[in-house]
Symmetry: C2
Subunit: 308 residues, 2 copies
């Protein structure tokens, strides 16, 4: 299994100003796997589901080359459940309910076929668990992409620092970058975070695009694809990360040129994702849509015809 | 006078997390004139000052080719005064004090030498006054750039709509765009605002850069220059607008290619402005700094080596 991802598989109840979706499939691993499998298959998933997780979604994932050997199915407990309500700005949200359920029994060991993974995406999970997953892959993966969130930054700082030290790419949002680096200036944050280990830092800024910083001091700015409407921002960051590492794995190499294209791909897939509720859009987008949005994004940013 | 600008000349007391500056020269026209005069001279200014406005700043402006024929000096009243405190994010602020003083007697008639202006920048002022200034220029200016703010959007909507109908370029921030268009999606806002008259819309997003929309449906995204520290955001938007129209006037033509370069110039000058208190940086920056930041901005954005 060349590419392995770890993250939650969940049921979500989502309210936005545009509507409400009840107990739909969600969780970081759903978005990551669907995005990554657009670029490379199979995608091995490490996760856990309960007895209420829809069989049709498992079948759908498998049809898309998502390998579920690493997914434990608990027979007597429900899936991880999250309920949230987005505000009118579609960027801030309140968590209405979180039920860990099976998440407490997240698998601690990898299937043997996953232990030679070359590309590893550690989605937002307890950093101790992220590290345990990484440690089982030997030789160590060529590229490790790490995501995290404020919860772990606040509570498990030293475990998180260990994970950062093995990361090649850290993909977090601007608020998390500021919290993790303890600074306001994103430029100084970038320097501080890159000193902790990652070769590359991706700072996601929602509708304001994304920044890429390298250890060599390079900075690139990527706009978000300008949408008429955002229906449901859930999963945008996971879709972005899944596309980024999926694309890199499909190229078989990580360098700045490959990563820049990966970020464009991530931006495009995230823009498609948020136009529908939950992972719905990721089940129905076309290569043609990706191609068109990619071209528009490049045209929007390359504003000088003969640069410099 | 080829280029004429209208706006306030003020004294500001500014508090930021980095320090405090008491009764320093400010006001939109100060920033606009200093920025525009980097590209073209003379720059005619329509404004009013009180008996407390420092003579050294007037001399400094004149040394930079800023023409003050349109500036009335009131002998018995103090200048427009504003005091504000920026929050730790350096993007939001509280107004602590506003004393209109001489602003109530803002000049209603233009010096005859200003009445053939080809480029007109109507800084944030009462839209009735903006329109009155415009009406005195005949034949009408080739390019009119308009700025405004929430105060006028809320209170003088119909007068503002008249000003929009004569604008070639509208330059406002994202919050103002949303308020003026009554919509959240910036893409839909752009369509609604361009339908009111302007050929081009510039939406300023502070540290998140700027968007350019054209009536022909084109969209371009410009990153902000990534700074280590912002010391004082006061005047950034005015500096941006002044540089944009100053650059256009220096080229003698407005088209998409010229405007894109103008936006880069505006972005660069605004980035220099916010690194010091008040207009201090605009009195001391060099052409070399502008050139270097311009190149970095382009490099950051042109992330694909062979576009499309």
């Amino acid at each position: 299994m060349k590419l392995v991802i770890a993250g939650t598989l969940a049921l979500d109840t989502i309210e936005t100003p545009f509507g409400r979706a009840e107990r739909i499939v969600g969780g970081a691993a759903t978005y990551i796997a669907l995005a990554a499998s657009f670029y490379i298959q199979p995608v091995g998933v490490v996760s856990i589901i309960g007895n209420d997780f829809p069989a049709e979604m498992l079948a759908e994932l498998e049809r898309r080359g998502v390998d579920l050997q690493g997914v434990v199915r608990h027979i007597s407990r429900p899936s991880f459940f999250w309920a949230g309500r987005y505000h009118a700005d579609m960027q801030t949200r309140d968590t209405l309910d979180t039920q860990l359920n099976v998440l407490e029994e997240f698998p601690q060991t990898l299937p043997s076929t996953y232990r030679s993974a070359e590309y590893l995406l550690l989605g937002n999970l307890d950093p101790t668990l992220q590290k345990r997953i990484y440690d089982q892959i030997y030789p160590h993966p060529r590229v490790v992409l790490v995501d995290t969130m404020n919860f772990w930054i606040e509570r498990t700082r030293s475990a998180l620092e260990e994970v950062l030290s093995i990361a090649d790419i850290l993909s977090i949002n601007d608020e998390e970058a500021r919290q993790l680096a303890g600074d306001y200036s994103l430029r100084r944050c970038a320097r501080a975070l890159l000193a902790k280990g990652p070769r590359y830092l991706l700072i996601k800024k929602g509708e304001n695009g994304a920044l890429l910083f390298s250890q060599e001091g390079e900075t690139y700015f990527f706009p978000a694809y300008p949408l008429e409407d955002v229906f449901d921002p859930t999963g945008a960051g996971d879709t972005f990360a899944g596309a980024v590492l999926g694309y890199i794995a499909s190229q078989g190499v990580l360098n700045l040129e490959v990563l820049k294209e990966a970020v464009i791909q991530g931006t495009v897939l995230a823009s498609l994702c948020v136009e529908r509720f939950g992972p719905e859009a990721l089940l129905s987008f076309s290569s043609e849509e990706v191609k068109q949005r990619r071209e528009q994004l490049i045209r929007m940013s390359h504003f000088i015809q003969v640069p410099i």
